[in-house]
């Protein structure tokens, strides 16, 4: 079985993030980049399926030049090879543009299954899996908390608010996974050493036959007009009880129309 797993490099979730005032995008230079957390579950699932059924796993990553940490982590975990799509024209792509670019890269590869995380911790649109399936003309199985593959078909538990649905489709298909699905492995030292020798193919927009008018800030259907940082919470009022504390509290609640 040939599996493609998609990963994104995101700014460290725990680091303090800044928006670049000119482009209104996250200032990625100022924080450490790492693999989007949910994508580690996608990589783990791909590896487990390949270990069980045999086959090959390819990681595909789209990102700015030098954003190599995410696919490297996937290689260290055990993925066989990487395709890295990078081109200045892709900067600022929205979900629609991103799904188009990724679909073009997938067009250059052979696969039976595409796996990706349900959401990226930076943009959090959660719609790339569905957009991508649509572009590829493949069944989409989203929010998977369990995946079973059987020769030509795939069955997943689709996590819902009330429990899960069981959904089945023929292969090839696009599957997005949730964190419940598995426990991602930590790379071993052997994996770290082996990753240095694994093939990495770097593509620019032209090599993936991407029409640059359809990607990047120019090609995006949506546009960020303004961005405001949440103001820090104000200090609040401290009431020292000198006999009238109860009255003051009641007055406060009344003026705020809580009572």
């Amino acid at each position: 079985m040939k599996i493609v797993v998609l990963v994104k490099q995101v700014p460290d979730t725990w680091a303090e993030k800044r928006l670049d005032p000119d482009t209104l995008t996250v200032d990625r230079a100022s924080v450490d980049g790492l693999i989007n957390e949910m994508d580690e579950f996608a990589v783990e699932e791909a590896l487990q399926l390949a270990e069980k059924h045999g086959g090959e796993v390819t990681v595909v990553c789209m990102g700015p030049e030098g954003a190599t940490d995410a696919y490297k982590k996937a290689l260290q975990m055990g993925v066989d090879k990487a395709v890295f799509l990078t081109d200045p024209a892709l900067a600022g792509s929205d979900a629609v543009g991103t799904s188009y670019a990724l679909a073009q890269v997938l067009g250059t590869l052979e696969y039976d299954l595409v796996i990706l995380g349900s959401e990226a911790s930076d943009a959090r649109t959660s719609i790339v899996p569905a957009l991508l399936a649509e572009r590829l003309g493949l069944p989409q199985l989203t929010f998977a908390s369990k995946v079973e593959v059987d020769g030509t078909s795939i069955k997943i538990n689709r996590q819902t608010d009330y429990g899960h649905d069981v959904v089945e489709a023929g292969l090839p298909a696009v599957v997005s996974v949730v964190e419940k699905i598995n426990e991602p492995r930590y790379p071993s030292f052997k994996g770290i050493m082996a990753a240095k020798k694994k093939p990495v193919q770097t593509l620019d927009a032209a090599a993936a036959a991407i029409d640059t008018a359809r990607v990047g800030a120019v090609g995006s259907w949506s546009k960020v007009l303004d961005a405001t940082v949440t103001p820090p919470r104000s200090k609040g009022t401290i009431v020292t009880d000198e006999g009238s504390g109860g009255v003051e509290l009641a007055d406060f609640l009344a003026t705020k129309k809580f009572v």
């Binding site: 260290q76 930590y186 790379p187 030292f189 052997k190 050493m193």
Partner: protein
């Protein structure tokens, strides 16, 4: 001199273990420690990461790394917890390493893959109730019966304080034993592999320890314990020289562990000093606290340089005995002092077991004792300088 930058793959390993320690170990280890319970699930996870196979070649199930890589992993683990770090150190450096260094092809094939995977643990028994530092005073004996034709060693005696010797997954203990009469003023000492569960081999109940409470330590006793002749490890009569080599290396690993503890004290103190206020100011604003933390950082830093230098000498096949002794001496002292200062910065909370610094305080002292006391390190350094025995 040293390249100030770690090579990329070592740095990746360091980061991976750092992440593991923070995400998997930190939230749960306090509870194991409190219950004096061995953290089997964490040891299994470390096994899956390949930590127990770090310095061994792939043909035995190892990671194809080296001793330097092992030391980095120990430092990062010990920044969060020493019980797990010593479990790894003893498993690799004392349990598996003697087999790798001195074992026959068959012995390596038989024992190492399980030990490298972390599914089983190995132990090394040198210390006896009547003597640790003076390892030549070994009293445990092994007598060879019907040599040559399916013969066996009959072991009698006891060992004290043996790490990893009594877990559910312990596969063997390599013990030093007297195998022959005195020659040239010295007893003939050899190493013998005793598989767990061998009749006549008793693992005594665990000790009540001051620290390392989530690690496994037992006294062992041997009463006419028989193992096959081929369980002799390395040459007969070479036991003394073998464990000296093992202990020389092990000191670097203990120094790495001590460095981790010293750094963990800095990490915790920085965080706490930022949060805690006294007399209307955060305590990080007091110079008395700043200087403590600056001194702690300086000690952790010098300890790190010392162990990394010794480890670099070791993996390049250069003499490292003195540097290893120096590393262990300064790193264990740094750990001890940093634990004391970190506890001070935490005030009363530092005396509570629920805070990591309380654990650090309890775990630091053994570093000046195990695998050669600080006095023994000074003796080694003095000998190396040519001072008389």
């Amino acid at each position: 001199m040293l390249d100030p930058q770690l090579p990329a793959e070592y740095e990746e390993l360091r980061k991976t273990v750092e992440e593991f320690a923070h995400t998997e170990v930190s939230p749960v280890i306090g509870d194991y420690y409190e219950r004096h319970a061995f953290p089997y699930p964490l040891v299994a996870a470390m096994g899956r990461m390949g930590l127990f196979g770090l310095p061994f070649p792939e043909q035995y199930g190892g990671m194809g790394g080296d001793y330097f890589a092992l030391c980095l992993a120990l430092e990062e683990l010990a920044r969060v917890d020493s019980s797990l770090a010593i479990t790894l150190e003893a498993g690799v450096s004392l349990g598996a390493m003697p087999l790798y260094r001195f074992g026959t092809q068959e012995q390596k094939q038989r024992w190492l893959p399980d030990l490298c995977s972390g599914e089983r643990l190995g132990a090394f028994g040198l210390t006896e109730p009547d003597g640790g530092s003076d390892a030549g005073a070994t009293k445990t004996s092994a007598r060879l019966e019907s040599a040559g034709s399916g013969g066996s060693w009959v072991v009698n005696g006891s060992k004290s304080f043996i790490t990893n010797s009594g877990t559910d997954i312990t596969s063997l203990v390599t013990v030093t034993a007297v195998t022959g009469p005195q020659q040239e003023g010295r007893k003939e000492i050899s190493s013998i592999v005793i598989p767990s569960g061998t009749p006549g081999f008793t693992v005594e109940p665990g000790y009540s320890k001051v620290g390392w409470c989530a690690s496994d330590t037992h006294g062992l006793s041997f009463a006419d314990c028989r193992v096959p002749e081929e369980n002799l490890l390395g040459e007969r009569g070479r036991g003394y020289a073998q464990f000296l080599r093992i202990l020389d290396e092990g000191r670097i690993a203990i120094a790495a562990l001590a460095t981790g503890l010293a750094q963990g004290c800095v990490d915790e103190s920085l965080r706490y000093a930022r949060e805690r206020a006294a007399f209307g100011r955060r305590i990080e604003q007091y110079q008395a606290i700043q200087f403590k933390i600056a001194d702690m950082e300086a000690r952790a830093h010098t300890a790190r340089l010392a162990y990394r230098h010794a480890a670099a000498l070791l993996i390049h096949g250069r003499p490292f005995k003195k540097q290893a002794a120096i590393a262990k001496l300064v790193a264990s002292s740094a750990a001890m002092e940093n634990a004391r200062e970190a506890t001070q910065i935490f005030g009363g909370y530092g005396f509570m077991n629920e805070f990591p610094v309380g654990r650090f305080y309890r775990d630091a002292k053994i570093l000046e004792i195990g695998e050669g006391t600080s006095e023994v390190q000074r003796l080694l350094i003095a000998r190396d300088l040519g001072l008389p025995a």
